[in-house]
């Protein structure tokens, strides 16, 4: 009683009852929906409920009792069995999940790195780990299908007598290694006859081909999913403050790191504010200066990349003149082969460091552009180096040496090894020395940051070498595994000893996407085309390797198909080969179809983009409506100020206090509903007093419309706060108020407007309709909790409809003012309908 000093007891009872009913109803609905789901979906749905553990447990037990009650009615052995089965499957799934987690490599180290350096640095280590896994997979494939059969057939390498292990081989990969299964030359072209025949040629070809295809698919998938997650959705406005605010790294646990991060964040926020304030107020001369610097640095970097390529080409030619095709090299000769990989790795180490010097005098509008420029320059450099090397191998080495595939394999081996040494040197010079310099000698330089972009590009380059080498040296992934494994620890130590957390919190997720895309696009595709070119166009060496004596590697398949023709029952393979693989028409059609599909998808994307713009506009309109109506309401309010207001406000605040944790979210809406109600009551009183400042029908209908709107708003907000834990109570309060409003309205009409006898009917039917609409909207909402966008739109639609209906009811006495409003609503609803159709 004391809580609601101003309402009569009947009202109060009604309110509490409704609240309780509504709460129970909502819970029952939820439970019913959950029961209808399959066991797996139900578990997921319950898990996804944003409630506290206890509430989830309560819901779950309700669902289970409901279910068992239902089941005891129709108990069968089968149902019991299937229930047991699904339970044990689920247990099994949990076990697999936890086992996978136990096997997860480097969990503690990852946590430590994330705890001190944040997610962006962590992404480098995640990438490194991913590459390591990739290499383990490729090693297993190659070792299993190529090396093991070769070793089983011929366990001891047939090494010429005058070749012995001298130690330098570990660096050069030449000499002794040349005769082992390390390289292409170590494999035979025979069919291994054992328990079953194993055609080495076919095995070699198909393993490499399959491996490349699998790599491509894996890359495309991870690239696409990461694009979908991180890039497409991301906003283009990069300096937005929100991004800074929501990207607080909860991973960070180190006290110092937290302090540093706070500082960095503050600096960044201030910068973004001042940037915004300044805007693009550069003078023409400044612009020209910036442009000139950009042009100069791009020119310089491109020139440097081309120059490095040319230099390496001449170095290779020089090397070619000094090496002979003999089986045994002198130590000096062998050591000479190290010159090219040394120079290449030196360039790879030095030039990127030089590029990063550009940063000091180049000014980019955003940090992202700066990183992109750096990445593009480095990619150009690496591509020109690799391009030149591949050209040399394909055109020069292939002509000169008798067993040229092994020679290329050796060259790649040396590059991989030297790359490793220089990566170590890189962390020494780039991080350790820089740290010493920054701390002791030149404090203005400061402690270095871990340059994620440069380090990731180094990894990508290393991986590309392994991909190119897969054909020439099938066991190269083994070296790669070792390399990445050591590198992980090395980088971790170097990071924790020498570096400080990055000063700017970049967009780690987006950078990661770009790195995977880079790994796929020039690098993997390049490696794939080089391997494919080798297999299709180059003549394999005649003295060694599995493909000796063939015109090109691919003719292995042709020979195999010829052989198959004689075997009955395999005609379909031959047919497929002749009519699908070898026919231009097939590829022509495939290409056409793909182009058409791409075009269609492109159009769909365009349509969606427009839709997004329109929907956004609609939300803005909605908001404007809301504020407009609110303003109107407040104006009316002000013009009829009454002492009663105090009481009502008190009540509103009382209510919201009562449900403070989640219910307060609705206080806004509630207050509005209350205001509407109060206005009606005010008018009622005025009516009784006799002074009628406004024509009663106008005030009435607009009051009804506004009450409805207020209710709608309450519901909208309710929907927003759906996840709030005690939404039952809050929503029911909103409902109750709207009902109260409607009831007062009804009373009001009874008092004041005897002429319109159908009015009470109208009102009550409006209430029932609104309630129905609400029910439906709620059902929808609960139906697709995991499919939010669609449900939201349909709920919106229903709300609109309900609103429209509510407004149409008092249309007979509707005045000009509210009819304009109704028309606006109608127009909007029409637009809404069109969108929904468009979907």
């Amino acid at each position: 009683m004391s809580m609601f000093p101003n309402s009569d007891p009947a009202h109060l009872a009604f309110t509490e009852d409704t609240i309780r009913n509504e709460m129970e109803n909502e819970e029952q609905n939820l439970v019913k929906e959950l029961v209808a789901l399959s066991t797996r979906d139900r578990i997921r749905a319950i898990r996804d409920l944003p409630m506290s553990f206890e509430e989830k447990k309560h819901i779950r037990s309700q669902v289970l009792t409901f279910k068992s009650a239902k089941q005891s009615r129709q108990f069968t052995c089968f149902a019991d069995c299937s229930e047991n089965m699904s339970l044990s499957f689920r247990r099994c799934g949990y076990n697999v999940r936890s086992a996978r987690q136990t096997l997860e490599l480097w969990q503690g180290i990852m946590k430590e790195i994330g705890g001190t350096f944040g997610t962006s640095v962590l992404s480098y280590f995640v990438f490194l780990k991913w590459l390591l896994m990739f290499n383990i997979f490729s090693f297993l494939v190659n070792f299993g299908f190529i090396t093991i059969p070769a070793l089983v057939y011929d366990p001891s390498p047939n090494i010429p007598l005058n070749v012995s292990f001298r130690g330098l081989e570990i660096l050069t990969g030449a000499g002794y290694f040349n005769y082992t299964v390390m390289y292409y030359g170590g494999y035979s072209n025979e069919t291994l006859v054992g328990l079953s025949d194993y055609n080495m040629q076919l095995a070699y070809f198909f393993t490499i081909a399959l491996y490349m295809v699998l790599c491509g698919i894996a890359l495309i998938f991870s690239m696409a999913s990461s694009f979908k997650k991180n890039y497409v959705l991301a906003d283009s406005s990069s300096s937005s403050a929100w991004q800074l605010l929501c990207s607080w790294d909860f991973n960070i646990t180190n006290e110092r790191a937290v302090k540093q991060r706070k500082n960095n964040l503050r600096v960044q926020l201030k910068e973004s504010l001042s940037e915004r304030a300044q805007g693009e107020l550069l003078t023409l001369s400044e612009k020209l200066k910036h442009f000139g610097i950009h042009l100069g640095s791009w020119f310089l970097s491109t020139g440097l990349a081309v120059g490095c390529g040319v230099g390496i080409y001449y170095l290779c030619i020089y090397e070619k003149m000094h090496t002979t095709d003999a089986a045994n090299w002198s130590l000096l000769q062998e050591a000479e082969t190290l010159l090219v990989p040394f120079v290449v790795s030196l360039i790879n180490l030095g030039v990127p460091l030089f590029y990063s010097l550009f940063n000091t005098f180049e000014h980019y509008s955003s940090q992202r552009k700066q990183i992109y420029a750096l990445v593009v320059r480095n990619v150009l450099l690496k591509m020109s180096i690799l391009g030149v090397l591949c050209y040399y191998w394909m055109n020069v080495v292939a002509e000169k040496f008798s067993c040229w595939e092994s020679m290329v394999g050796q060259a790649l081996y040396r590059l991989v090894i030297f790359d490793f040494f220089f990566l170590m040197l890189g962390s020494f010079f780039g991080e350790f020395l820089r740290n010493v310099m920054g701390r002791r000698l030149l404090p203005c330089l400061g402690v270095p940051e871990f340059d994620v972009a440069r380090n990731v590009l180094e990894l990508i380059y290393a991986q590309t070498l392994a991909w190119i080498g897969i054909y020439f040296s099938p066991l190269l992934p083994a070296i790669q595994i070792l390399k990445f494994f050591i590198l992980f620890y090395l980088k971790k130590v170097s990071l924790t000893q020498n570096c400080q957390p990055p000063r700017r919190s970049g967009r780690a997720a987006q950078m990661q996407t770009i790195f995977i895309a880079l790994l796929f696009f020039p690098f993997f595709v390049g490696a794939l085309s080089i391997v494919a070119y080798t297999a299709w166009s180059l003549t394999p060496s005649e003295q060694c390797g599995p493909f000796r004596g063939l015109n090109n590697t691919f003719s292995v398949v042709e020979v195999w198909i010829d052989k198959l023709e004689t075997i009955p029952g395999s005609q379909w393979v031959v047919w497929i080969f002749q009519n699908v693989i070898r026919s231009e028409i097939f590829y022509f059609f495939i290409t056409l179809i793909i182009i058409v599909v791409i075009y269609i998808f492109w159009q769909v994307t365009q349509g969606r983009k427009q839709l997004i713009v329109q929907l956004r506009q609609q939300i803005i309109n909605e908001g404007r409506d809301k504020s407009f109506l609110l303003e109107k309401l407040q104006n009316l309010q002000k013009s009829h100020k009454k002492p009663k207001q105090k009481n009502h406000n008190k009540r509103a605040s009382r209510r919201s206090d009562e449900h403070s944790s989640g219910g307060q979210s609705n206080s806004n809406a509630m207050v509005q509903a209350l205001l509407a109600r109060q206005r009606i009551e005010d008018e009622e009183e005025r009516h009784r007093a006799g002074g009628v400042p406004v024509p009663s029908d106008i005030s009435n209908s607009s009051a009804l419309a506004q009450a409805m709107l207020a209710r709608q708003r309450a519901e909208d907000q309710n929907k927003d706060s759906y996840q709030m834990s005690d939404r039952h109570s809050s929503s029911s309060i909103a409902l109750t108020h709207s009902i109260q409003v409607a009831m007062v309205q009804g009373r009001d009409e009874n008092y004041g407007m005897s002429g319109l006898s159908e009015n009470p009917v109208n009102t009550s039917s409006a209430v029932t309709q609104a309630m129905q609409a609400r029910r439906r909207a709620e059902q929808h909402r609960a139906d697709d909790t995991d499919d939010l966008p669609s449900s939201v739109s349909s709920v919106m639609m229903q709300v609109m409809q309900a609103r429209q209906r509510a407004e149409e009811l008092p249309q007979n006495p509707a005045p000009a003012g509210s009819s304009a409003l109704i028309q606006a609503m109608l127009a909007r609803q029409q637009a809404q309908n069109e969108y929904d159709d468009g979907y």
């Binding site: 319950i46 996804d48 936890s98 890039y231 403050a241 929100w242 607080w248 939300i619």
Partner: protein
Amino acid sequence: MGTTASHLPKDLLSEYQELTFLTKQEILLAHKRFTELLTKDEKDHQNTRVPMDRILTLPELKSNPFRKRICHVFSTSEHKDGSLTFEDFLDLLSAFSDSATLEIKSHYAFRIFDFDDDGTLDGGDLEKLVNCLTGETDDTRLTPEEMRQLISNILEESDIDKDGTVNLSEFQHVISRSPDFVSSFKIVL
């Protein structure tokens, strides 16, 4: 601490697994860490509440600027003192775990950032949020002018319906556009 595992009955464990995003190891580890926070005589009781200041001695939460808010949001205590039971603690870890959905994460992030618990992020909430992130002391805080500018920028970006506050769906919209959120809204024991 091999004995702690036996404190957790098997059916309870599987229930925890079913209702949270955590794996068995994570639950057991959480249990171990939680029991370490209990005093001698509290260990015998079921469902004891650990007060907030003792929860905040965990290194994972100790230096987090939102530590108090996190405790308040996940606490089911009736006194609103931020104390956590083991189940509240699991809830916390589940929301911050790797496999929690974006939906859950953004919902709890919203509640953490909603300092006055009124269901919307208004100017006051945003100001507190920024202060939390940049540091509370006078020399680290942004000037009032900067703060005003920043908040108006934020509202301009995210307040789609222009009502002066950021509600949950608007917040989720912002979150869906910052892909780093999922990887950074994470606490692992």
